[in-house]
């Protein structure tokens, strides 16, 4: 029949078309196969923009690669990580934080790729390697630390100059400075207790000068069950001393959040804030004429003991072992770790380098005085080994202690309970 013959003739060009399409597809796969990588993080806003800039530059160099940067709310990030890993579909590149979103459980479960053979590993500094390595084996690297911050007392240089104040080097001097500032009608310390975590920053800046300075194995002993928060006189003293500083806090510190503290600093209504260097950027944005600096919280009794700053790696990037694009994900991290890329990223994001070969990048002038201290007077917050449960409990309980609702002992017992999970 005629129609059947016509249909047979049509089959030949269709077949040829399919074959040529398949050949074209094979040709692509052997050369520039399209790759889509997912990148999970809690870093949005200005910090997120800095990561997006790196991604865009990488995509421009590798047109076959698309990287989807997926931002989740910081408060839900632990839940999201757990859900994705337990469901077996985590992102290809996953952001962790050494404290709040620790990679340790995923390393233990074999969910992350061992990155020890990557070229950038040789350039990790001593203080950042601890955050990149496995908790149990420092020789094995599972993440690329992208940025390091420092913490201490952020202070308004103009107020210090006007009141003829020197940078205190002991706790007694620090109290005297607070008294002098208060007498001048200015809040000595801007505290954003409503958010909870700024109180944790306060405690950490105390404890790097006591418990974890004298005994860096405190966390290891906790894990072994031979040490507890409630059993630590140093932890209890740190909380008591935080409470004793309450008269020097801004009015309404309990209902003030972090943004409120940067407003107080920017407007000169407060002179100091114990926090990370990420406080600088929003404060300077609010008041471009302000002159800020940072010094270690002098939580020491005599001036012969040099107080420590805190350092902390904000973000580390790991590669999921379940990823179908492990080589591509590793290649992206390798690109990120290149000295010029890292320098460009740090200039946009702010903060300090995590690798020793990073080219020159813009550092906030407020950090200049403190930079030389990083080698000798700084302790990385990774030594605390706190989990997300401990941190959440610490934030709420520190608020409750400051308002007199619970005792420091109760707070430490709650933290011990949270530490057990």
């Amino acid at each position: 029949m005629q129609w059947r013959t016509t249909r047979h003739w049509l089959i030949i060009p269709i077949f040829l078309g399919i074959v040529s399409l398949l050949l074209a597809a094979c040709g692509t796969s052997s050369g520039q196969q399209p790759v889509t990588l997912t990148f999970s993080s809690w870093q949005g806003g200005a910090a997120g923009d800095a990561y997006q800039a790196v991604i865009k530059a990488y995509e421009k160099l590798h047109p076959n690669v698309t990287i989807q940067y997926e931002v989740s709310a910081a408060t839900d990030y632990t839940t999201i990580l757990n859900t994705h890993f337990s469901a077996g579909d985590p992102a290809d590149i996953v952001a962790f934080s050494p404290t709040s979103y620790n990679k340790a459980p995923y390393v233990q479960a074999g969910d992350l790729v061992d990155l020890s053979d990557q070229p950038w590993v040789a350039h990790l500094t001593a203080s950042t390697k601890i955050t990149a390595a496995s908790d149990t084996d420092q020789a094995k690297i599972y993440a690329l630390p992208t940025v390091q911050d420092m913490g201490g007392v952020i202070y308004n240089k103009d107020i210090f100059s006007r009141l003829h104040l020197q940078i205190p080097t002991t706790w007694a001097q620090f109290i005297q400075v607070c008294q002098a500032i208060k007498a001048a009608g200015i809040a000595p310390l801007a505290v954003g207790a409503k958010d909870g975590w700024p109180l944790e920053q306060f405690l950490y800046n105390e404890l790097v000068n006591t418990v974890y300075r004298t005994d860096p194995t405190f966390h290891t002993q906790q894990v072994a069950g031979t040490e507890t928060y409630a059993g630590s006189a140093g932890w209890k003293q740190a909380i008591n001393d935080l409470v004793a500083l309450e008269p020097y806090f801004n009015t309404g510190f309990s209902s003030t959040d972090f943004a409120g503290t940067t407003d107080l600093l920017a407007t000169g209504k407060a002179a100091m804030s114990v926090n990370g260097d990420f406080t600088l950027q929003p404060t300077e944005t609010n008041n471009p004429n302000i002159h800020l600096g940072i010094f270690p919280l002098p939580y020491v009794q005599d001036s012969s003991t040099k107080p420590n700053l805190t350092t902390f790696v904000d973000v580390t990037l790991g590669v999921s072992a379940k990823s179908h694009n492990i080589p591509a994900a590793k290649q992206f991290l390798q690109y990120f770790a290149q000295p010029d890329v890292m320098a460009s990223f740090l200039t946009q994001r702010g903060g300090l380098a995590t690798l020793d070969n990073v080219g020159s990048y813009k550092v906030d002038p407020a950090l200049t005085d403190a930079l030389p201290l990083l080698g000798t007077q700084a302790l990385n917050e990774a030594v605390f080994g706190t989990t997300s449960n401990v941190e959440t409990t610490m934030w709420k309980d520190a608020q409750a202690v400051l308002t007199g609702s619970i005792s420091p002992t109760q707070m430490l017992q709650d933290m011990d309970q949270a530490f057990k999970g």
Binding site: T75, D76, T83, G252, T256, T392, Q399
Partner: protein
């Protein structure tokens, strides 16, 4: 079938009148067919998770791990000894009772005033009714952030107003003081929902037959007597609805507190639902969070049934 053809028509055309009869489908099938999709969706999205939470309340599930163990009543015994859960229940009860009393009291007063105003200034009464309802149209989160601004001790409107009125000694850290924070949250909640309760009372008031007032007036009853012997019994159904809705809303309060104080300072304003959220989503104690939810659910159920039976007794059928 009546739905497709009138009875008379159906009798004259017994077989061909309706498609259902053609297919010999049972009478209930079309009804079920219409209800079934929604029922399936409701079962999957609501009923199944609710029933699941009843099961998870007896486990140690962390929310993500497939490793789940039945631990009997341990979650329930633990929650009775948990200080934070106890505080959350006390806060929630305080919030609910104070809100129920003040919200309904003020709403009733406003409804009575508007009901009187309707008689001679209907336009103004309608405008006021809309005005009182506006806060209810806003999201509780928006109200929460607004409340945060009003009560802030640093740049807040309330303390600024007090200071401008030379009442500096009255200024407070309204949301940072554990003794004032819950009251401040209740005040914001009251401002948002009083209009809603007012509408319920107003509907009840407008349904009261006017001749009852005329009869009472002829019998010599004054305004107060008319209220106690006519209005109050006649608006009993509205009171029941308004109270029950306030109670349920109070027990499940979350978003307003989340925005205004995040449960703080410390645990001073943390509600039960907020505790459930923290245990489940922040501490990964899903089994325990489910147990708290079950306890709250039973608590609301018992209280609602008890209150309904009490309030129903005083309802009058006209």
């Amino acid at each position: 079938m009546k739905r497709f053809a009138p009875a008379g028509l159906a009798s004259s055309m017994p077989i061909t009148a309706t498609p259902a009869r053609l297919l010999r489908l049972p009478r209930w099938l079309p009804d079920v067919a219409f209800v079934l999709p929604a029922l399936i969706l409701f079962t999957v999205v609501v009923i199944y998770p609710v029933l699941s939470s009843f099961v998870y309340g007896f486990t140690d599930w962390n929310g993500v791990s497939p490793d789940v163990h039945f631990i009997g009543l341990r979650n329930f015994t633990d929650l009775f000894a948990d200080r934070n859960v106890r505080i959350a229940f006390v806060n929630t009860l305080t919030f609910t009772i104070v809100a129920a009393v003040f919200q309904n009291g003020i709403a009733l007063g406003l409804a009575l005033a508007l009901d009187h105003l309707m008689g001679w200034l209907r336009g103004l009464a309608t405008a006021l009714r809309i005005l009182f309802l506006i806060p209810m149209l806003l999201s509780p989160l928006a109200i929460g952030y607004l409340g945060q601004y009003i009560f802030s001790p640093t740049f807040g409107a309330l303390d600024t107003l007090l200071a401008d009125a030379h009442l500096e000694s009255w200024t407070r850290d309204w949301l940072g003081d554990p003794h004032l924070a819950l009251g401040s949250v209740i005040a914001a909640n009251l401002w948002q929902y009083v209009g809603y309760n007012m509408i319920i009372f107003l509907a009840g008031l407008q349904a009261v037959p006017r001749d009852l007032y005329e009869s009472a007036s002829l019998d010599g009853a004054g305004e107060v007597q008319q209220f106690w012997h006519v209005t109050w019994p006649m608006i009993a159904p509205a009171t029941t609805i308004s109270l029950i809705l306030t109670l349920i809303g109070g027990f499940k309060v979350f978003d307003l507190i989340f925005a205004m104080t995040n449960g703080g300072p410390g645990y001073a304003t943390e509600s039960v639902v907020m505790r459930v959220y923290r245990e489940g989503f922040q501490l990964n104690h899903f089994g325990y969070a489910a147990a708290i939810s079950i306890t709250l659910c039973l608590f609301i159920f018992v209280l609602s049934v008890a209150l309904l039976s009490i309030l129903r007794r005083r309802e009058v059928v006209v």
